[in-house]
Symmetry: C2
Subunit: 581 residues, 2 copies
Amino acid sequence: MKDFGIVQKISRPFRANPRLTNILLVVAVSGGGYVAYAQANSDSDLISSSAPDVERKKVVVLGTGWAGTSFLRSLKNSSYDVHVVSPRNYFAFTPLLPSVTCGTVEPRSIVEPIRNIVRKKKIGFQFTEAECLKIDAKEKKVYCRSNLENGEKEFVVDYDYLVISVGANVNTFNTPGVMENCHFLKEVEDAQKIRKTVIECFEKASLPTVSDEEKERILHFAVVGGGPTGVEFAAELHDYVNEDLVKLYPGVKDKVKITLLEAGNHILSMFDKRITEFAEEKFRREGINVKTGAMVTKVDDKQITTKEMKTGEISTMPYGMALWSTGIGTRPFIRDFMNQIGQANRRVLATDEWLRVEGCDKVYALGDCATINQRKVLEDITAIFSKADKDKSGTLTVQEWKEVINDICERYPQVELYLKNMQMRDIVDLLKETKGASATKSVELNIEDFKTALSKVDSQMKMLPATAQVAAQEGAYLASCFNRMEKCEKYPEGPLRFRGEGRHRFHPFRYKHLGQFAPLGGEQTAAQLPVLPGDGVSIGYSSQWLWYSVYASKQVSWRNRGMVISDWVRRFIFGRDSSQI
Amino acid sequence: MKDFGIVQKISRPFRANPRLTNILLVVAVSGGGYVAYAQANSDSDLISSSAPDVERKKVVVLGTGWAGTSFLRSLKNSSYDVHVVSPRNYFAFTPLLPSVTCGTVEPRSIVEPIRNIVRKKKIGFQFTEAECLKIDAKEKKVYCRSNLENGEKEFVVDYDYLVISVGANVNTFNTPGVMENCHFLKEVEDAQKIRKTVIECFEKASLPTVSDEEKERILHFAVVGGGPTGVEFAAELHDYVNEDLVKLYPGVKDKVKITLLEAGNHILSMFDKRITEFAEEKFRREGINVKTGAMVTKVDDKQITTKEMKTGEISTMPYGMALWSTGIGTRPFIRDFMNQIGQANRRVLATDEWLRVEGCDKVYALGDCATINQRKVLEDITAIFSKADKDKSGTLTVQEWKEVINDICERYPQVELYLKNMQMRDIVDLLKETKGASATKSVELNIEDFKTALSKVDSQMKMLPATAQVAAQEGAYLASCFNRMEKCEKYPEGPLRFRGEGRHRFHPFRYKHLGQFAPLGGEQTAAQLPVLPGDGVSIGYSSQWLWYSVYASKQVSWRNRGMVISDWVRRFIFGRDSSQI
């Protein structure tokens, strides 16, 4: 290798095992140059960096869903080498999947190759289309398998940091027959399959050999789960049938039936009551059969068995196509990983508030595959008290209180939530409640008073929902931590460590709920957005336009945006296609 | 049923066996009405027509390709009940399939549901998504099977007229391994699969475990067949790789190779020599490896074996993906049908010039599945002579000649072609050649002279190529015959029947070649169109724009047109997508 004064950037081909010890460092020295050789074994991988730099850390990201992609998009620190491993080489804008099922939007419009998303970033980047089989947190290795060539091509990837963002499986709650007979709506392929199946049902029902009774069965579309996905699919399907298919299948149009099954008492239960009522009323009016309070206990190839939650009554209904849109489950290799790191008893992979997986080092988990295990105030109550009691007097003054309350609120967001929900302005109100109305600023709290004051706040802890919004915010948050890793090492910005010394490096992750939409078909959408005036609820045609603009603006690329908008325009002009491809 | 004077139109649901004897005829009589009952069995199908009509004839159309769809689009006569049976419920604009393989155009943009194409027509129409298994020409029945529900759903369809337009199979010429290892490009699904495979090859080559040699193999794309499809695919792929993929796969871009294999001496041999040369030169310049004079003798899963046509030398080349784009074959059930009707020795199903299948009644075949078996002049020479020799003098005068020459030219188009090719203005020139330069208008021909005069014309007979253009013209021609069936029965418009009495009902089918395009990539196209000034050849950017406008205008619906054009625009702006869906 030539010896030169100007530092050269060599694009380094990644290897399966590019340990960071095997580095040929090209160090620039003003006035002349020399080459520092630091090769630990026979591996001849080259790496160079643009400064007398420390080792480049290798970040392995598993998955290209909302969390992983959001992390990649926000990552700006060029001192990492990022290796993304995912069975899909693209990001999919999943909230539009229900639209894809009926051809309102084309599948290709909502996907973007992950290489394209990262292309213009100045980070070392490699993508491998493979599935993760196993994580070895001790050795910092990930075992992967490529499904591309005739099955078995396994390999190992080392990491310095691991970001797990593999999303979730479907969860059938062990209901027999669901896996075999139901459609799901988690991947683009699922949506494509549903679209094909809907048309197939119409073609089947048009066969000359099919009896009327059979026609009715074939054209009965059952949707299990009254959440936003199920509701939106039912609404889309209803529009598709009534706006497009009835014209082409006039002989069978009267036989079509759509049933929405929900085990709870209402559909869209996570929304405001008015939205639920509006949706149920709209569906009823349009002939979509909403059956609440009924749990699916079995799915055969031609009939669904349900059980009334109240009466226990069992009944069956013949169906042609069923969509299972309820429940999320843990992927098998994540389950193995949880056993390995002592989380065997947990339902979902747990992280702390900084998205670090509990029980191992430098492993992060975000999105649907993980959940943030919020620290309870009562667990730490003694540590908090002693940290706050600066003068070690055994009692807390209001002044001492005020000094730590911000840290407490940041570290334990449930405290802030509790104050807000109890309509207390500040900590003094909490004191007043504890010590009675006579409490004044001079009141001091001992440890027992303190426990009483904070005894109820933990009830405010809530799990974050498994939504794209949460995943995206987590990804962006983690990237911002990675971007400032070194800086925050020196100047920590987080809250006080109540159980340790100093401060936490970063602020903990805080989710900001921006609201939620539920498209109800017929160009009407229900929206529940904090930014809206009043109580944030809006239902109708205007929300549909809001929905259009929000969904268009949230696309990850201009290509997606252009494609999705032009799909909408094409649908307005030409309707939805019904070719069986 | 009520008895009324006004004729009611009842839309009749088709049945598997709606024999035309089971008809409830509602006959309108002025001043009062009565119902004529003509029910032969317990079947209660209803039919009514808008006049004291004859039976409605049932036309069964097999296939929804170019020929079948063109027939349906041109059919205007409302006195038919049309039943279309096809495994695909849509028409696909196949000339754009090579564009679909690389995402220049989306698959859904080039398809249109057949129901939508026929929807606004006033013909009785039914579509069944099924494959034809067997034709029984004696009993006038077609045996079909639906592939929709778990395989075996067989049924029988009766017909009065049968239109066979099922297209062709691929033909591997029994080359071992082709079926298992090659891609084809006949259906939309094929194009989608190719698109996915191209990306898969790039992802495979990017796996960390793959050696450099293996990378080169995986990224070697082989195209077998130097016809327009193969050439266009190679060009599209080259554009896709160089305009889009190199940016996303910088690590492997230098390993990509495209090879075009052709057994003949030149690619695009059906085009003008200049086009061939231009294409070969362009490909060479761009690094597309054109290997002519080499026949593929075997395709293994990782290598292709070829044999030099001249030297017999055998060589092998490793490959990652192969497209087989040469040869068309006969579908098995058509082969069975040919055996049944005495065409066992033929290569392709033969029809006469009116597209009627030889050897059976009221069966028509068009498109790639059939070929027109042109009648030889020499076969009929005696009949022609005696018909022309009106005064039975044993000799033909120029006057007698002139009276029949139009009929001869129409019935035997090779005569006209011969005259044109020999640069003879009219029949007198032919006489002159036969009798020597001294021949004048008074010359008379005996039967031997006549035979001599016409002895060479049969050499002008040519098989029509298996193209979309031929199929579409045949479909439109057949529909025009069906539209005027009754009228032409009374007033035949065709040429004299030389072997029978009177005239043929219709003019025979005559193909009008409108020209052909060969897109060569990089926004350049070769065009050979008779309408172009000079010799009709044009190559370059301007032809590409001609290609865009012709292909846009030829779409079967405004939806297709809008979609295809907007796909082109999207590709110009955003490039082609490389998500592996």
